[in-house]
Subunit: 176 residues, 2 copies
DNA sequence: ACACCTATCTACATGTATATAGATTAAATT
DNA sequence: AATTTAATCTATATACATGTAGATAGGTGT
């Protein structure tokens, strides 16, 4: 298995999270990985294919993280708090959520990416709904929507104001 | 006063809200307004100057809207609901909040824009805090932060899922 | 040894992006 | 009428961006 492809994804992920998918080029990517920019086309024929791979990778990551939390023997409340930490980690590296970023750039990434973004947020919301149900909340579905909204918005503000604590403050009332 | 400058700002505002500030060029802008792209430099020397003008304009718009709501003889609750409508209007045009968009693209817009984005969100939050205080909420400050977070996040999701109602659902519990 | 595959390279094509210099036009001022 | 200012234009510079074509070098399997 090609290590280069993996490296390209890692660097592209970081660049998307920091500068946006329209904020870097194949040349930026190539220089960081140490190959020629034309060689990237071997791994990702067009830039949109890179975008698709990035969203799928991020989605898979999230599914794995959520499945791990499901397996672990802790309360739903602690599961949710762990998920918050998962996202909060972005802030100290001045990153934003990759799927949130692409959702902002929605009109430029094409329908295939859009479809996968919808799936990403649907899965995130579904998992949260399950946790809220386990906590006995009648409004689990709406609460999950409120949570995802507040999460994405607070990640934006936290990075802007350089205050990771903003994320916890914005989500605090939804957990208990 | 130059009408062209105003037109440029209007088109640039829409393009930023739909495609992101890095998602359009001076050429796109020029073609829509009907001048040559080099002529834009007369009005906005560099693209960053356009970005600054856009954020300031959006900020002024918001301050005016909030001042109008303060003047009008309605309850704080209705004032907040009116503000929600103000932002919700973006969705049916497939737009996202201009300042939210630039906050996502933060690492590419430069420190001058960043400073103005911080000011924009500070004023929005301060106004909301005032309304929540008028409603007798002890946690007015935190609540305002939660509101802004949920607002920005829900605008992102509402556009992605083409469901304007998402905004109201995400903010509902914070008003009452 | 030969054919094939993987991953990269060089070289190029085409178009875009931001920006500058200097000419031109038209309106406003003296 | 002459001068100045505002706004736009043409033409150009420089750099970047995405992508294609074809060559190359090294490894794999028969």
């Amino acid at each position: 298995m090609s290590d280069t492809r993996e490296q390209l994804l890692e660097v592209a992920e970081r660049l998307t999270q920091t500068k946006g998918f329209n904020g870097f080029s194949y040349l930026d990517l190539a220089e960081e990985v140490g190959i020629k920019n034309s060689s990237i086309h071997y791994h990702f024929k067009a830039k949109v294919d890179l975008a698709i791979a990035l969203v799928e990778r991020t989605h898979d990551d999230l599914l794995t993280a959520m499945a791990d939390l499901d397996k672990s023997n802790i309360t739903p409340e602690k599961r949710i708090k762990s998920l918050i930490s998962y996202f909060q980690g972005y802030i100290k590296e001045e990153k934003y959520c990759l799927c949130g970023m692409m959702a902002a750039e929605l009109q430029t990434v094409g329908p295939k990416v859009k479809k996968r973004l919808v799936a990403y947020f649907a899965d995130l919301q579904a998992w949260l709904e399950k946790q809220f149900k386990a906590l006995g909340h009648k409004d689990a579905k709406v609460r999950a929507l409120q949570f995802v909204s507040a999460l994405e918005g607070s990640l934006l503000l936290a990075r802007l104001e350089n205050k990771p604590s903003v994320v916890g403050q914005a989500l605090g009332n939804l957990i208990k």
